[in-house]
């Protein structure tokens, strides 16, 4: 790593790798878990992995635009979480369960 050529304190590959792994863990959680709350959390995790990558590239190229996008992603994540949780509360009120399998009935 040469500090004059990049603003990052580790190589860009490190961040790419890390964000890939975090994204995959989030995706794995969506596949494995059945609890809706945990699913929402795994989505947040995936968004965070993307954010990490964006920030890494933004710092790498020394431009702030990508960080603005991270900002918007955080905003959208907050909105998504509120709506998702309220849907979840509705589902829980009707079925007394937070299992995603409940939504199978949607296709009937």
């Amino acid at each position: 790593m040469n500090p004059t050529t990049t603003n990052l304190s580790a190589s860009i590959e490190f961040y790419i790798l890390l964000s890939c792994v975090l994204f995959t863990i989030g995706a794995l959680g969506v596949l494995v878990r059945r609890n809706m709350i945990v699913l929402l959390m795994c989505i947040e995790l995936m968004l965070n992995a993307v954010n990490l990558l964006l920030v890494a590239f933004s710092t790498y190229y020394g431009q702030g635009d990508a960080q603005i996008f991270v900002f918007f992603i955080i905003v959208v994540a907050a909105a998504e979480a509120t709506v998702g949780l309220s849907i979840l509360i509705m589902a829980y009120r009707n079925n007394k369960s937070t299992d995603v399998g409940l939504f199978k009935t949607l296709k009937d």
Binding site: S9, L22, M41, L52, G62, D65, E80
Partner: protein
């Protein structure tokens, strides 16, 4: 190299706690591990000199969204792990699929176009508040306003969805 070491520690810990989010039985434990993950990611942001985003990440994710999750978990009283057990086959195949997925991602990115040597010399302080403020309120002012409308929409939607309907008396 201290900075690199800190990066590696933060990265490793964040992967570990992300795994704990997925594999801990108790939803509340999952939430807490997710908060830990956010903190570690914020630490990485600070290492990348993106202080503003690091703090915003903590305030919004750890301070608001995760409190909301915790709040819902407490209100619904999901103290016991009520989740049905995932079949072993699904578990194994998901882990396998995820492994293949990460392999493909890495393979695809390995030979991609990232410039490897002496070129990028942008603004060192790209992540500082002054810079981001200039960008946000000049170049990206319209998306910013639209995102506030999105927020209001989601707020109204959440209130409407979560409001208990009055029983119809006939």
């Amino acid at each position: 190299m201290t900075a690199e070491l800190i990066n590696w520690i933060l990265g490793g810990l964040s992967i570990g706690s992300a795994l704990m989010v997925v594999f801990s039985k108790h939803p509340i434990r999952s939430v807490l591990y997710l908060i830990v993950t956010f903190f570690l990611v914020s630490g990485l942001y600070i290492m990348m000199n993106a202080q503003f985003l690091a703090i915003v990440n903590i305030i919004v994710y750890a301070g608001a969204i995760m409190v909301l999750f915790l709040f819902v978990l407490m209100l619904l009283n999901l103290n016991k792990a009520t989740e049905p057990k995932t079949p072993l086959l699904v578990m194994l195949s998901s882990v396998g699929a995820a492994g293949i997925f990460v392999l493909v991602l890495i393979a695809a990115l390995k030979d991609s176009f990232i410039q490897k040597s002496g070129q990028v010399a942008g603004n060192l302080n790209a992540g500082m508040v002054e810079n981001l403020g200039e960008l946000l309120f000049k170049k990206y002012i319209v998306p910013f306003e639209i995102s506030s409308i999105l927020f209001i929409a989601s707020m109204v939607g959440a209130v409407l969805l979560a409001k208990r309907e009055k029983p119809i008396i006939d």
